[in-house]
Symmetry: C2
Subunit: 415 residues, 2 copies
């Protein structure tokens, strides 16, 4: 049994200092983190080399190893991202609302840090620095539990960050990394209710599901995106083809990529061959319903229910011909993960109906689902994209890493 109570206590003690630290001091720590990463690129690359070697010895696939791999340019990009976070406005101490009450008391609603955040994530080592920097900027201390494949890289980054934070005269324990990467340590983190205010998992659907099922700490679900594009009978078909192609092929491995195409039957004959021509350029595999097969021929694999429920994260798309916008919305309601959904149409009532009735973090008319992103939305950076409705929905920036406190000042009022 892994005991994380001591880490929890340290995180909470550090939070009492960090939570009330000013903008300048937090920025100083972030600036020193970036500087430390620049200065210790070699240390990071050596640690990363060990991770890569271990991964090779364990026979891990090259695509996975590529996610792990850092080079000088990548490390410097990670440092630059820290400076970008530093330059964002401090989300803490904002008076969101206030008034003087009838009895003369004043009340203010002020943003405060969430507190102690747990992060469970998979292989990419940049998450270690990204997540810790966002937490720090919002006054939160963090306990990181990264994947075992990246343990050497993560440890190198954590050491650099802790040194930098201490140099800025904040407690090093603002950032802690769990170096035990057994399943037990991740379970222990999910039970750390006395110390953690929230747990944010970041990774594949399997990880997210396991954390949601097992955590006793409040969880913010992120990232699973079974995103649909519905091509309406009133669509501009050229536009629709461009949007589907972009949403599917511009970066298939990300959560805002399109996984499923729904086409109104009255335009399917014309549209499906058009979109296939674009998708063929990227060798996208099409898994379609009977009608799709009838129109596009034998190149189409028969789609199963499981296909409609799958986030492929690959050059694969499921396709279904529907007889109405209602059927499209029903299908989306059944299979959507609540991430990003799109209708392509020139018809205003249909656009409004879709926007109204589809329940997802982001709903689009005539634009690619690929835009769902904290940077694009203007939040500066994101710690993940929430697909739940409690606390935060959609891209989570600094603001979503805060809570509030009511401050009431009186002169003896009683009730």
């Amino acid at each position: 049994m892994v005991d994380l109570n001591e880490m929890g206590q340290k995180a909470k003690a550090a939070e009492r200092v960090l939570g009330i630290a000013g903008e300048q001091q937090k920025n100083k720590a972030l600036s020193l983190i970036a500087q430390g990463i620049y200065e210790q690129v070699d240390t990071v690359l050596k640690a990363n080399e060990k991770d890569i070697e271990t991964a090779r010895q364990m026979g891990i696939a090259e695509t996975m190893i590529d996610r792990l791999r850092l080079d000088e340019e990548r490390v410097k990009a990670i440092a630059r991202a820290v400076l970008d976070i530093m330059r964002l406005p401090d989300p803490i101490g904002e008076i969101e609302w206030g008034r003087t009450m009838e009895n003369g008391m004043t009340i203010r609603k002020v943003t405060v840090p969430l507190g102690v955040i747990g992060m469970i994530y998979e292989s990419r080592p940049n998450v270690t620095v990204d997540a810790a920097s966002l937490c720090l900027k919002a006054g939160n201390t963090v306990i990181l539990r990264g994947g075992k494949e990246a343990i050497h890289s993560n440890t190198a980054f954590a050491n650099i960050m802790r040194q930098a934070i201490q140099k800025a005269e904040l407690p090093a324990d603002c950032v802690q990394l769990i170096t035990d990467t057994t399943r037990e340590s991740s379970t222990a983190l999910m039970q750390l209710t006395d110390y953690l205010d929230v747990l944010i998992p970041r990774g594949g659907a399997g990880l997210i599901k396991a954390v949601v099922a097992n955590s006793k700490v409040p969880v913010i679900e992120t990232g699973t995106g079974n995103c649909h594009v519905y091509v309406d009978q009133f669509a501009d078909l050229q536009m629709a083809a461009r949007i589907v192609d972009n949403a599917k092929t511009s970066r298939p491995s990300v959560c805002n990529a399109c996984e499923s195409l729904l086409v109104h039957e009255s335009v399917a004959d014309t549209f499906l061959p058009m979109v296939k021509q674009l998708l063929d350029r990227s060798n996208v595999e099409i898994r379609g319903c009977e009608q799709t097969k009838a129109i596009l021929g034998d190149c189409v694999v028969a789609a199963t229910d499981a296909d409609y429920a799958t986030e492929f994260l690959d050059y694969v798309i499921s396709v279904k011909v529907v007889d109405s916008i209602e059927e499209a919305i029903d299908h989306i309601t059944q299979y959507s993960s609540g991430h990003s959904e799109c209708i392509v149409t020139e018809n205003l009532p249909n656009a409004e109906k879709f926007l109204n009735e589809v329940d997802a973090a982001a709903v689009y008319v005539n634009a690619s689902t690929r835009f769902t992103d904290g940077g694009v939305f203007g939040f500066g950076a994101e710690i993940g994209i929430s697909t739940q409705k409690v606390h935060a929905r959609g891209p989570m920036g600094l603001k979503q890493l805060t809570s509030v406190k009511y401050i009431i000042v009186g002169n003896g009022q009683v009730r």
Copy 2:
């Protein structure tokens, strides 16, 4: 094993209708609910009579039975509260933020219902109507699981509400009551992740703790209030005594009542006898530290650590003499449930220090903790007071029963 999947499906199906219903239709349903309760007062009272009888037969204490008991006036007050909720502004469809992006797309952040809400609560039958009405006004369907002591009253209320909702041409399943009041049904509700967006427990510390420990659905913790008043060395002692007396005795059974008094040692000799004089009028039992005993004498019971951690909800107060504001803040940090905390002082730096460093939903200077309340804060009504930091903190009104959706409209933009 209780199977709530069918209820979950019905709640979700009803939510697809209620979630996009307009303000007028929701208000019509609420108006008909109030009317139905007025018209069927007798039915409600007969049902309540059965609950009271059963409670008597089971030998339940009279104070508990009083919580259960309805009379004509109480039932009418419940109906009036529904009309108050009806008159609040609709929290759904508000555009919280929006902009036109560089590429010409428009983005809007719009408030939407949370979705399907589970409520687990104890004896008071008014919660059945209050909670359901708040959920309905914010476009949420609700599955209610009340205590077994109130099952007949709750069933009568639920029937009236379902009839009214149907008359307003909304699905009756917007409000569902679990009539099985075994522990199994409450466990099943906590596992209903496919259908529930959030679970809100309302009741004593034991209930809240059990739900937080066992729920797989996101929970919003409410109501536990181990609230402190700290009387600083720079306090106006007359004011301090009035505030402590009000916070302790005006309604000891509620969560914003004061449970613990901290007094700076330099004023303890003068202040403790002063405050005791006021508390004596309500026969408040004092459990104090050694110094408190030395000052007030043998009437003081020796306080244990458990006393400092206890929400008495009764005419009992724990008292500790501290040597500094720092010791007061440390004590509060250790024992507070994060509800409401107060400092009485005329010293500005100490007031600011306390406001800054004490981590609670509401922090007071020179006013009674009893003011922490959705009605007092101007939210119109409240479904509970959140003591967690995720999603909502402090009194939860209609706004806290909403989520958001991003709506993006373009004309063919791709990334």
